[in-house]
Amino acid sequence: MIKILLTRLGHIKNKINIPGNQTLPMDTRLFLLFSVLVLTIIAGVVAILFITGTFTAGLEESKRLVENELNHSSSAISRQYGELSVQAIDFSRELTRSMEAESQRTGIPLNKLADHPEILEEVISAEFERALFTLQKSKSSGVFFILNATINPALDKAENSRAGLYIKNMEPNIISSSSPNFIVLRGIPSISRQNSLPLHTQWKMEFDVKDAPYYHRPLEAALANPDLPLSRLYYWTPVTSLPDSSEEVMLCSVPLVDSKGNVFGVCGIEISSMLFKLTHLPDNNIFNRLFCVLTPLKENSMDFHQSMFAGGYSARILSRGGDILNISDPSTFYTYSHKDNSFLGLHKHVQLYPEGSAFSDEKWLVAVMVPEKDIVNSITTLNLLLIALLMILVIAGIIAALVLSRRFLKPINEGLDIIKSADLSSAPRTKIAEIDNLIDYLAVHNQELYEKARQENLSLSILDEFLENTKELSPAERSVFDLYVKGHTAKEIAEILCLSINTIKTHNKRIYMKLNVASRDELLLYINMLDEIGIKIIDN
C-alpha cells in the first residue's frame, strides 16, 4: 500500500516538476488541495491536543491516580490508627481498673510491684483474658502490657528487664478466623500454657527495655505531665523491631497510671508491617510499583527505615538500605530522592495525635509514590502511541486524498472525452448532472453553430460572386462604383465626375446589371457586408 502510495506521489512530483509544463493536471491540483486540507486538519488536531494538554495528560492522569490513592490511603490509615489509639487507651483504663482492684485485695500498691516479684505471675495471669480480648476485637496484630517490675531482680539484666505480656496474632488479616493463630512473644510460659497458647520462636520471658521508646517515652510523658489525660499521653513508635525479634512493627503505647497518679507501666497495641501492607496495599492496574508509605517527617525528609510500606517491591529493596529520602518541591509531583533512587508521588500529613498531646510535635506523613522511571515510561509510551496514531491519520488522509481526487476526476475526464467526440447527441451519460447538462447544451449549441456557419458560407459565396462581378465593370462604371463605395450619392458623383445625372443613371443601370443587384440599397448592402468581413473593394 505504502509502495503504491509512494509511486503515485512520485508521479505527482514528476508532473509538478516537468519543465515547461506550466499547467498542473486537475487531479494533481485536487490531490494537493485535499492533502493541504488533511494536513491542516491534523495540524489543528495537534494544536488542540497541545492546548488541551493531551500530550501531558499521562502526567495528569498519573497525578489523579496517585491523588485518589493518597486520599484513600490517608483516610484509611487515619481511621485505623485512630481506632487503635482509642482501643489502646481503653485497654490501659481497663487494665488499670482491674489491676487496682487486685491491688486492693493483695494490699500491694501497683507502683510497688517491683518490690514483690513473687506476685507478678498472678498479676499478669489475671490480665491474660483482657489482653486476648483486646487483641481479638482490635483488628491489630498484637497487644502488650509492660509492668515496671521484673520477676528476678537479682539478675544482671534486671535493670532493663520488665515483666509483662505480649500476644501476637500471626494472621491478623484473616477476619473471623475459626482458629486464630495467637502466639505469645513475651510472657511467663506457664501463663501461655495455662491458656493453650504457644510461645513465639523469638519468645523471651520479659521485655528488654534498654532501648525501648515504646516503654520509656509514654512513661516519661506521663510523669512529666501528670495532669494530661491518657488520650494526650499515648505514643506511636516509628517502625521498630523489639530486641531479639525480627518483625518490624509500630506500637501504640499508653502509660498505665493508677487513680493516685502513679505510673506503673505501659500497655498498647501493635500494627505489624505485614498487617499494614495487607491493609493498605494500593489497588491499581497502571503502576505495579505504586506504594504507600507511613513515615515520620524529619526536616523535610523521610527515613524509610522507620516507615511502614504497602505496595511495590522497590519500597522493600530501598527500606533495607535504611536510607533517608529528601522531599523536593512539587511540580506535578513531589520528588523523593536519595543517591540511588528517585520516586515521584504525593503526600499528606496525618494526625496521629490530638491537640494538646505530649507528642503533638511528632509529624507523620502518608505518601503514595512510584519509581520515577515508571511514570516517565508510562507518559512516553502514551505519547508515542498518540504520535503513532496521528501519523496513521496523516498517511490515511493522504491515501484518501489520492483516491478521492482520482475518483472525483475520473467521470469529469470521461465527460471531457465525450465532449471531444463528434456526436454529442448520442453520447453516453456520465451520471454527473453538470457534465450531462453541458453535453446536452453543447449538443444543441453545436447544431446552431453549424447552421449559422452554413448560412455564413452561403453569404460568403454571394459576396465572392459580387466581388468577381466587380471585375466586369468598365473603367467609367468602376469610377462611379468606387464613389458609391466611398458613400457618395448619385448627385455627388455627377458633380465629382462632371457628368450629367442621366449619364450617372445609365452607368447605374449597367453597374446593377453587371453586379446582379436590383437597387442602390442592395448595392450598398453588399458593400457593407464586405466591409464587415474586412474585405476592401477599393484601395484608399
Partner: protein
C-alpha cells in the same frame, strides 16, 4: 549415656528414666520432682511410624487398629513414660517446652528445626545457650527403619487456563533442585525430588552456615539412604481421627498421671503405676 543411646525408642525411654532419676536427685528434699526428658510432636504420627516399624498398620479399613501387639508396644512406651513423668503430655509443640528447659529431647517434623531457640530460659528468667543435636528418627528394637513422609503438598486450584499455567510454571521453578535447596535451607522442609536430595544436596550441605539446618540435612541424608519412607494413605476423616486419637490419648494419660501422683505418695513407683494404669489400654481402645 551418649547420643548413640537414642537410636531406639527403648533406649530413649530408658534414658528418660535415667534423666528423671538424675534430676529428681538434684533436690533430695523433694520426692518425685524429676524432670521430663522427651516429647513426641505428634502422637498419631509416632503411632503410625511405630506400627509400621514393627510390621503392622495403625489404620486398617479407615479405622484405628489398636489391638495389635505392635500397638501395645507403642502404648507401653508412650503411656508409661508419660504417666511416670518422663514424657510430656502437652497440647502444643515440643519446641515450646524445649525453650523453657522442660524437655531436652523430642521427635517431630524436619520443619520444626527453625522453631528451636538457641537459648533456654528457666522459670526464674535465668537463661543459658542451648545446642541442638539432630539425629535420625529412632526405631523400635527389632523393627524396620521406617520414617514418615507426610505433608499437605501443593495443589493447583481449578482456575483460568492462564492461572493454571502460571501455577504449573511456579511449581516447576519451585521444585527445581537449586531453588528447592534454598527453600530447604530456609525452612527445614526436605526436598521432593531425587535430584535435589542426591549429589547436589551432599555438595551444598558443606556450604550451609546454619548449624541446625546442616545437621538436619545430614540426618535426612542418612535416613534417605537407610530408612524406608512411609506415606500413609489419606482418606476423608483422617484429620478428625488424628485429632480424636491425640486428644483422647493425652486426656487419658493426663488422668492416669494425676492418679499416679496420688498413688505414688503412698506406694512405690511400680505399684503406683500399676494402680494408675489398670485397664486403661482397654478403656482407651473402647473409645474408638
Amino acid at each position: 549415656m551418649t547420643l548413640e543411646d537414642l537410636k531406639t525408642f527403648e533406649e530413649l525411654f530408658k534414658t528418660a528414666d535415667l534423666y528423671y532419676e538424675w534430676t529428681d536427685q538434684q533436690t533430695p528434699d523433694i520426692a518425685n520432682d524429676g524432670k521430663m526428658f522427651f516429647m513426641a510432636d505428634s502422637l498419631f504420627n509416632a503411632a503410625l511410624i511405630g506400627c509400621k516399624q514393627l510390621g503392622e498398620d495403625l489404620i486398617q479399613g479407615g479405622a484405628l487398629n489398636l489391638k495389635s501387639p505392635a500397638y501395645e508396644k507403642i502404648w507401653d512406651a508412650y503411656y508409661k513414660s508419660a504417666v511416670l513423668g518422663y514424657t510430656a503430655i502437652y497440647d502444643g509443640y515440643a519446641t515450646d517446652l524445649a525453650k523453657t528447659g522442660d524437655i531436652v529431647c523430642s521427635t517431630g517434623s524436619t520443619a520444626g528445626v527453625s522453631f528451636f531457640s538457641p537459648t533456654v530460659t528457666y522459670a526464674d528468667n535465668t537463661s543459658e545457650p542451648a545446642e541442638l543435636s539432630i539425629l535420625p528418627y529412632p526405631v523400635f528394637e527389632n523393627g524396620k527403619p521406617v520414617a514418615l513422609q507426610r505433608g499437605a503438598g501443593m495443589c493447583v486450584i481449578k482456575s483460568s487456563p492462564e492461572k493454571e499455567r502460571a501455577a504449573a510454571v511456579f511449581l516447576k521453578w519451585f521444585t527445581n533442585p537449586e531453588n528447592k535447596l534454598r527453600f530447604v535451607v530456609s525452612t527445614g522442609y526436605i526436598p521432593v525430588t531425587q535430584a535435589a536430595f542426591g549429589e547436589l544436596m551432599t555438595k551444598k550441605i558443606e556450604d550451609i552456615e546454619d548449624a541446625n539446618i546442616k545437621q538436619l540435612l545430614q540426618a535426612t541424608r542418612t535416613m534417605q539412604k537407610e530408612y524406608e519412607f512411609y506415606t500413609p494413605r489419606l482418606f476423608t476423616g483422617i484429620d478428625e481421627l488424628q485429632s480424636q486419637y491425640e486428644a483422647q490419648l493425652k486426656e487419658i494419660a493426663a488422668s492416669s498421671r494425676s492418679s499416679y501422683l496420688e498413688y505414688v505418695s503412698s506406694l512405690d513407683t511400680q505399684a503406683a503405676y500399676e494402680a494408675a494404669s489398670q485397664g486403661i489400654l482397654n478403656e482407651f481402645i473402647e473409645r474408638f
